[in-house]
Symmetry: C2
Subunit: 878 residues, 2 copies
Amino acid sequence: MSRYVFDFSDGNKDLKDLLGGKGANLAEMTRMGLPVPPGFTITTDACREYLHTGTLPSGLLREVEDHLRLVEARLGKRLGDIHEPLLLSVRSGGPFSMPGMMETILDIGLNDTTVLALAARSGDERFAWDSYRRLIQMFGRTVYGVPAELFEAGPGDTAALRDLVATYQKVFAEYTGRDFPQSPREQLYGAITAVFQSWNADRAVLYRRQERIPHDLGTAVNVQAMVFGNRGPRSGSGVAFTRDPATGRRGAYGDYLPDAQGEDVVAGIRNTLTLADLSRIDPASHVKLLSIMEKLEQRFRDLCDIEFTIEDGDLWMLQTRVGKRTPAAAFVIAAQLVDEGTITLDEAISRVTGDQLAHLMFPAFDLDAAPEPLTTAVAASPGAASGAIVFDSTAATAADGPVILVRHETNPDDLPGMIAAQGILTSRGGKTSHAAVVARGMGKTCVCGAEQAVVDPVAETLTVGTTVLHAGDVISIDGTTGHVYAGAVPVRSSSVVRFFEGELSPLGDPLLAAVQRLMTHAGHVARLAVHANADTAADARRARRFGATGIGLCRTEHMFLGPRRELVEHLILGDHESALAELLPLQRDDFTALLREMDGLPVTIRLIDPPLHEFLPSLEDLTARVAAAQAVGRDPGLDGLLLAAVRRMHEQNPMLGLRGVRLGLVVPGLFAMQVRAVAEAAAARVAAGGDPRPEIMVPLVGTVQELDVVRAEALEVLSRVEGAPPIPIGTMIEVPRAALTAGDIAHAADFFSFGTNDLTQMTWGFSRDDVEGAFFGRYLDLGVFTVSPFESLDTTGVGELVRTAVERGRATRPDLPTGVCGEHGGDPASIHFFHDVGLDYVSCSPYRIPIARLEAGRAAVTPATQPNGAAFGPTSTS
Amino acid sequence: MSRYVFDFSDGNKDLKDLLGGKGANLAEMTRMGLPVPPGFTITTDACREYLHTGTLPSGLLREVEDHLRLVEARLGKRLGDIHEPLLLSVRSGGPFSMPGMMETILDIGLNDTTVLALAARSGDERFAWDSYRRLIQMFGRTVYGVPAELFEAGPGDTAALRDLVATYQKVFAEYTGRDFPQSPREQLYGAITAVFQSWNADRAVLYRRQERIPHDLGTAVNVQAMVFGNRGPRSGSGVAFTRDPATGRRGAYGDYLPDAQGEDVVAGIRNTLTLADLSRIDPASHVKLLSIMEKLEQRFRDLCDIEFTIEDGDLWMLQTRVGKRTPAAAFVIAAQLVDEGTITLDEAISRVTGDQLAHLMFPAFDLDAAPEPLTTAVAASPGAASGAIVFDSTAATAADGPVILVRHETNPDDLPGMIAAQGILTSRGGKTSHAAVVARGMGKTCVCGAEQAVVDPVAETLTVGTTVLHAGDVISIDGTTGHVYAGAVPVRSSSVVRFFEGELSPLGDPLLAAVQRLMTHAGHVARLAVHANADTAADARRARRFGATGIGLCRTEHMFLGPRRELVEHLILGDHESALAELLPLQRDDFTALLREMDGLPVTIRLIDPPLHEFLPSLEDLTARVAAAQAVGRDPGLDGLLLAAVRRMHEQNPMLGLRGVRLGLVVPGLFAMQVRAVAEAAAARVAAGGDPRPEIMVPLVGTVQELDVVRAEALEVLSRVEGAPPIPIGTMIEVPRAALTAGDIAHAADFFSFGTNDLTQMTWGFSRDDVEGAFFGRYLDLGVFTVSPFESLDTTGVGELVRTAVERGRATRPDLPTGVCGEHGGDPASIHFFHDVGLDYVSCSPYRIPIARLEAGRAAVTPATQPNGAAFGPTSTS
């Protein structure tokens, strides 16, 4: 028979899955001998059983009664006793903290009779009626769903409170069709059942989906004897942190409210006092509290937050947990705990995340200089942006200065405007709306669902309350907090970025010192190297300052843009050989500059990848130009020739067309020119005394035969360039077939680099450009995805191909170097996966380098995760 | 130590790998006691050793000398003997017959001395000098590469021949820089070495690549005593078949040339006689020959072809092998051999192929009514087509009647013309040219590389010899034979098709009787069922007549074309719900008609797959129309609205965009309308007393979550239609991720159907539309492909995904029905693969049904192939 109930003295902090976080920590404090009001926890097993069968598990009532008797015995009170009534609180508490669930009902046990006993025993009639009033209100709202607004506010004197209880009882009876239950046991079991049911409330389900919390965990229920902070001036309630959760500064930090219950502190009805004030009011309790907080830090080995109540001079601990903190505090506290000998450096890096570091690297508004926000909405894509308001895409693209695109909601028509704008503000939609999904994909600041803002695109006004803004007025949006401000707000650059850039010293700055220390340790323990995706010498320089130990992806096509487009037009339309001859020295100079910046480090150069027609004007533009010319009888001239070429080269699906290695096999001399440019650049660097380490990477290979041909041609070209160092020739693995046949391909490849962007597109069969706006929002809403597979690697599907390719490649060539150069190389969860499957490096954009370095270290000290089931196993068992 | 030489009396017909086909069969005849001139075979092992090391294997010379002495002893002659000189032939012979290799050198052993002995012994001086002339010519050409044209033609009288020998010796010496070797042993070893080397001649390598013959087999060499058919009227040479290779008719059939060597028969210099003539000229040899041919048929259990020589009244067998035959003969002979008790029906179906059946089903020119061909070129894509000549794509698309597009070569610009034309004729390029690859992809008749034809697109003339044809003149091209005819040639419909259609009876027609018999047996033994891809009642009817036992793919999008496009425009632009309401009864009628045709058989209906914008006019058309209107100041009207919609819905890569299940999840009510139409159609059929068996198939699923949502909605719709039978809901497996996660997907799928077209596109990362013309020809030339993966399944890459999905799907649901509905379902090699991986059915277009039925039977009686290595193993070991 299962055991469904644990007394607080039976559990401990490691039983979170069974007892929930709150219950496990109440048990831990009880075990530590701290003053915790007695009580017990009903397990998550009981909840799951209830959700499965729809009835409370058999045996549960008996266990509850047994434990209830224990509590009664300890306190000398009994539930429903008309002389010494025991009052109880019932609180939910799952393995993860989860807003949206029923949380607390206080004062269970009060009824028309026991309220009189409470008044008599406490000598405080007002307190007794106020407690009863609270019970009816909380019970009605959470157990019977009585709308909160039906319970009018207003504690007054005792008589008024007695009347209010009568009124509330009437409200309850009218709404529910039955009288307020006078049986304390009915109150207790009603509350327990309501907690169980709240697990499947809409908001709770939505929250779990967003936060990727499994739906089958269930919640525990904590039943505890009441203590009262509202028993007069010698009573009170407070919350406290063992360190400052905003900055990490050492020392207790908290709020205290005399003559109040915990919910009053949180509600912010009255101004709270500080802990220093408490030391004056009740020095004994203050000293005791500080001593307890120190013990808790030692036990939990981290910043704790606590809730406490003082009842008539007796201190009671109601809750503790490892406290939330800002990203800056996370770094500072982790470093402090190392200094204090509490944790190791390995543990320290496991307590900070790449996402926290990313937040520290975003530019942020200078909040000291910021006005009151106009409104606060969904923080959909982080960053800080100011600009003139525009109401449509055309205005956005036509604008000279920075603009913020303001829309009800966005659709694919708005894409050009979204690209042109500094940021996007919408009045509708949440984190999975079109605007949110696309903005995150672009790394663009976005605030969504500003419901208090009225957007009128015809009148071109944005109205919030009484403030009316017009097109051209400047607003500022904070995608990290969701704040919207009228006017420009000064932006403060990130001190962490300036530190990485070498502009700030960590001396005397606790945050920078902590970042430096943890990053250094991450570098020591990491197995994954971190390379950069960089196409220019400037990018390479920044990447190197940010700690990149190589370039994992240099895209050579970017080198064919701008004025060099004309040479590509020659290559396509005109004299093939002379165009290549003109491109050769330009490419050589590109590579020479890059190799100079990265002297002594590997530089992986990818041969040209996109279809050549991408360098020509668009079919649509040319069609319109030629049609317009012909309509007025004018010769379309060069446009006509270009249109013919673009039509000839037009592809239905350019992503699946003549690109990558296919170009190299079809366009004579193109790859050879690039290979020669690499070799000559390397030879020039050697001649200049440098240590160039170029590597050549062939894109889009699907079968070893393609690579065999390209490799033979490249080796022939390399053999003819004197003075060049040995240059490895490897391949991207970005086509599913390449992953499946990696055992063959490894025969012809000196290294593998996973192109997880294309691999994701082809494995799922969708193109990022076409789908993020078109249906990703819907998919996230439906729960088809928990996160976009372009943001974080789909470890089940795409990940299996990566794992398979590594295994088969290494079966052929045991020392095969492997890396990843898709955007997933900078994503924390993906980096852990790449560590687990044994890659040698990740490569990402320069600004993600520090994040990747940190996560590479964290991955090395964290047990391997089994994300979404084992790679070859099922992801669900629907 | 290896044994490199086998006397003919040591081998047998099962040693083809070691002795080559020719050597194994010479040995077999020797073992049978037939009159074979003595000789021996040098093994393929020796060849491989030579190719590997560049020298003849040690020990080979000694073995050759030993065997040579045996031959000498048997005949009482010696190589180089000045009284009784032994003359030898040296012939190549690999495991597969292979044009492009050096084949034969005769008369080895002749020199300035032995020629005199031969003259003396034979009493025929002219014969001796003619033989010597032949030796110098053959040896010079094949061992030293002396160009054939340097040896002027012309046997004359003896004196002239003696002069010719002197001339040839001079030619030889001038070209090679050395005298013609007088040593018979040098001649012998030179010839053996030349045979070995010819394995790697360009033409041989190319041929092997085209025919998918492995490059590492090597060739054997047969050394044999010469016999002479050119020793006067009692001598002669012939070739014969044991049955008519054109029709399969019983009875020996052959050509005989008196006083001639075998090469003279093949060269066709003189008109040959028939075997009936031989029975008059040399009745004894004739009787002996017929008796030998009967023995060979019994031994080889099949039609044999033979080469024989009669030397002075003595019959000698020089070669035999299982003979090539026409597709019609293949069927007739296989059935005959069953009748004769020689082979089983299982063997009979393994001796005919789906490709042969396909040839019998193409319409063909009525050759009795055909004129002489103008020219014969590469038969690039089978079929027969007549039409007016057009020289460019514009003319082709503008033409009213049938046209043949005539080009030097084609490129992507010609695609519209290729689609519009009945057939394509080019003067350049071979089987892998753009024209050939694209035409085969379209199933369009094509003749390529007609080098004798001069195409002048400016003058618009096609000139062959003295015939000049102009644009508009009619020509006919035969893509099965490569013939090109001036004028229209009557087309004869296929009797086999008319038989399948039920229009012809097999009674009294040996071909149709054979086809019927073998098809029936194939049906009995096949494990794979054969379903049809059919969207209309007419297609379904034909498919059923052709033997389909279900519809494996009904594409519902075809039902939205024509006048219904307007409803799709409403769906997109206008009133969504009313458009769906209007579509519902139309779809219901579509499905009712289909279910009526296929009463009692499964009909798998795929929910709509392509992006909705495909039903709107093209972006290019609309852009041009709107631009033209605006240029002259006219309001573009509806075109403007449509353009906005098309722009909004435009996709960079529609194949990877909003289609398939994604549409179903994004467009409310679309799938529900289709599901309801299916259920209502089925209910109507039940009410009418029918036995409807519809199945619903969801396209493009990549994760089980998509299918979960669609399935739940569909089940809800189905539950509301009264009177409908149970309707299974399954999924396509066409996205790589679906194959990888098939274990999950099977939880929500009642069946799997592999969409191998899309699966091939996504696994390789290329779209068929974009790549076949752009680079497949180049890939075939380079040997990257041996066959287009759209024609025949890539069993290594795509096949691994199919195999994986079947295994994982069945692990979840052991009785999961699986099939394939991509075009590979009608491809013979692919069908064998699908049989081997355990699918339940293949589905293909109606005209491929009989081919698939035959191959399904053949697969069941053929051992599993290991195409390109095991599915998970390497395809090469470069």
